[in-house]
């Protein structure tokens, strides 16, 4: 999990929020499966080299939101039924990512069709085509 979870201490977003959102994303995307264990506060803090209180704060908020569950004596786990990203959150994340990609395409001088083709190709590489994936 540590490799997929990055915090940037230089970012003005508080570190606890970066951790909270990072874990939410990992859970929502399925990278962290329901019921699977997450590192202890101490392990994650040492790995990210951040204050353990910061990690504890993120974990506490995630527990209150039902994303993580603490089992006394055993550790911290992804909840059996974690709440999915709300529709608003999902479309905001998608829109943010799209703007970043579109500006990259413009910077590189790539045409709109060329850029969209790359998106389609990326979807094909990620997962076999299902109905609904094709525009």
């Amino acid at each position: 999990m540590q490799r997929a979870l990055r915090v940037d201490p230089r970012d003005a977003t508080p570190i606890w929020r970066q951790i909270e959102e990072g874990i939410r994303r990992l859970v929502a995307s399925g990278a962290l499966a329901p019921g699977s264990g997450v590192p202890s506060v101490r392990e994650l803090a040492a790995d990210l080299r951040v204050n353990p209180a910061t990690v504890a704060k993120a974990y506490q908020r995630l527990s209150e939101a039902g994303v993580l569950a603490v089992r006394r004596g055993e550790g911290t786990f992804v909840a059996a039924n974690p709440p999915a990203l709300s529709r608003g959150e999902r479309s905001r994340e998608l829109a943010d990512g799209a703007v970043r990609y579109a500006s990259l395409a413009v910077t590189l001088g790539a045409g709109r069709e060329n850029a969209l083709d790359e998106v389609r190709a990326a979807f094909r590489r990620l997962a076999p085509t299902r109905k609904g994936d094709e525009p």
Binding site: V7, P9, R10, D11, A12, T13, P14, I15, V41, R42, A45, A46, L48, R49, V50, N51, P52, A53, T54
Partner: protein
């Protein structure tokens, strides 16, 4: 800096501290309070007064005015009594060069009733600090890790670290901070540290203070500090309606403004989202964007050359 009375619960505090060396004023009425459980980073350029402040805090130096408080009592008076509750990593390793790690640990065991020899030995083994080599023959990294092991040996309530990673290589620095994280996770120890390693403490510090020429020019929570210090970039466009230029940044308390070929780049100390939204919508302000600053950039902006 106005005089603030530290809350009684502050394990480490300083009140109106003034230190003079002849006619030179090293500290001019500095007050601060480290909240319990905080990691408080004191920053400052060389000669800003950090070392004098640490010496007073440890009760090694008597200030001309004011006082340093260890667990609520004058550091100068209670130094010996407070020591078991206080772990110290000095700037210059100060152990006798002929003593081995094992000998140092048993020496402290006689002084401190709460000494945890097993934990000390355990740490030293983990850091590959040889037990039977004289202190003077250890590498810089080994000396640093030994100092930290000894500082944590009495399970202190507070730690004072004086530029603890100075001269350590990146691997040793990393090990040092990871061990500190472990201590914070296990015991929530209050930490006061001075450092030049801003990137190293950026994720760990909860409070930051900056000393400049013997005065505290900044003392606040790191989160708040990062929210208000940001860089703003934009271009000015001449329009018919807009006749005034140069006042558009007034709301943000710019500390540094550079006019570049493509536009303006400003470091501001009073950023807020609402003001930025209306700034970005100002007639003739084009492509406004803002970005976060690293602690190092904030430090340079506050403690740097210009006054």
């Amino acid at each position: 800096m106005t005089e603030t009375v530290p809350p009684a619960a502050s394990p480490l505090a300083i009140r109106g501290l003034t230190v003079r060396y002849g006619r030179v004023v090293a500290l001019a009425g500095v007050s601060l309070a480290v909240p319990p459980g905080a990691v408080y980073a004191l920053l400052g350029r060389n000669g800003a007064g950090k070392s004098s402040l640490v010496r007073c805090l440890l009760g090694e130096q008597k200030p001309a005015e004011g006082e340093a408080l260890l667990f609520g009592a004058s550091a100068w008076k209670v130094r010996a009594r407070a020591m078991p509750r206080l772990g110290v990593v000095p700037e210059e390793p100060d152990a006798p060069p002929e003593m081995t790690a094992a000998a140092l640990s048993s020496f402290f065991a006689r002084l401190y009733p709460s000494w945890d020899a097993e934990a000390v030995m355990d740490r030293m083994r983990r850091f590959a600090v040889p037990e039977r080599v004289p202190f003077g023959s250890l590498s810089k990294g080994q000396k640093g890790m030994l100092q930290l092991s000894l500082a944590l040996g009495s399970h202190p309530d507070a730690l004072v670290l004086d530029d603890p990673t100075l001269g350590l290589d990146p691997v040793a620095r990393r090990a040092f901070f990871e061990e500190l994280v472990g201590e914070l996770a296990d015991r929530g120890t209050t930490v006061f540290l001075t450092t030049h390693d801003l990137a190293g403490v950026e994720g760990m510090a909860t409070h930051v203070a900056i000393l400049r020429e013997g005065r505290l020019v900044l003392d606040e929570e790191l989160e708040a500090l990062k929210a208000r210090f940001r860089r703003i970039r934009y271009a000015n466009e001449i329009t018919e309606e807009r006749t005034e230029y140069g006042k558009e940044l007034d709301a943000f308390d710019a500390v540094r403004v550079k006019v570049r070929g493509w536009g303006v780049e400003a470091t501001v100390s009073n950023f807020n989202d609402d003001a930025f939204a209306s700034f970005a919508a100002t007639e003739g302000v084009v492509d406004a964007e803002s970005e976060a600053l690293s602690l190092e950039e904030i430090f340079v902006a506050v403690a740097g050359g210009e006054k």
